[in-house]
């Protein structure tokens, strides 16, 4: 499944990084602890989090993640948006909570 498929099917908001929506998703990671993501997330995974500051995009880039999804309708900080554009990693948003969003992604990846 591509990031763009996830965006379309579940009406995710694309804050930035539109040009990189073609990336293939290998899995998902859910955590709001940055060192946990740094230590355990894998390449091309989608990271679901409530953290909205720019370090999120720094980590997404260092870990070569496919995209970041902000939950509960949270909006990214301005420098987070800029960082997403710079790094070319999609920054997405949903009104769903973390549990529901993770479930959606899990079911999609399981069935694909």
């Amino acid at each position: 499944m591509k990031v763009s498929d996830l965006v379309e099917k579940y009406g995710l908001k694309v804050f930035a990084g539109q040009e990189s929506l073609g990336k293939e998703i290998s899995g998902g990671y859910v955590s709001d602890l940055l060192s946990d993501v740094m230590g355990h997330a894998k390449e091309n995974e989608v990271w679901i989090t409530l953290q909205t500051h720019q370090n999120v995009m720094a980590i997404a880039s260092l870990k070569d993640l496919a995209a970041v999804i902000l939950v509960k309708g949270l909006e990214p900080d301005d420098d987070t948006l800029a960082r997403s554009r710079e790094e070319g990693i999609p920054l997405l948003g949903t009104n769903r909570g973390t549990f529901e969003m993770a479930g959606v992604l899990f079911n999609e990846l399981k069935s694909s």
């Binding site: 602890l33 060192s35 740094m38 500051h53 260092l62």
Partner: protein
């Protein structure tokens, strides 16, 4: 000839955390180092950068790219570490509330560094600062 890169970090400045690890990642890619090794180095350097931003007044990251390994030395002027053994324990943290709210300071930094490097050495003097040295073999 060995290549050396040096980065400065200001205490409290999280906006630049990741600059050193990002540049070091680029160099290792250019050197055609195994991606599994690059991933390990990146995790270790990033955690070290965050530690300086979270705890120290200022510091620097120096990376020396040798023939068979990269050596990274992170030197800071800061509070130092009272009990290194305790600081190495996963979950032990002295980070401020603000730092924790950002999702940092969960006490995973030093153990993440140890896990991803071949040789970690920590020297610290309370009230002065800390010198962290680690290496990652290319193979």
């Amino acid at each position: 000839m060995a290549l050396e890169l040096v980065f400065q970090i200001e205490g409290g400045d999280f906006s630049n955390a990741g600059k050193a690890s990002s540049q070091i990642k680029k160099v290792l890619k250019q050197l055609n180092i195994d991606t599994r090794i690059i991933k390990r180095v990146v995790v270790a350097v990033y955690e070290a950068e965050v530690n300086v931003a979270a705890h120290a007044h200022r510091g620097q990251v120096k990376a020396l790219f040798g023939e068979t390994e990269v050596e990274v030395v992170v030197t800071d002027q800061g509070p130092g570490i009272e009990n290194i053994e305790q600081a190495m324990q996963p979950g032990y943290s002295t980070a401020s509330k603000e730092v924790r709210e950002m999702g940092f300071g969960a006490g995973m930094g030093l153990s993440n560094i140890a896990k991803n490097t071949d040789n970690l050495h920590i020297e610290s003097e309370v009230g002065k600062g800390t010198i962290l040295t680690f290496r990652c073999n290319y193979s």
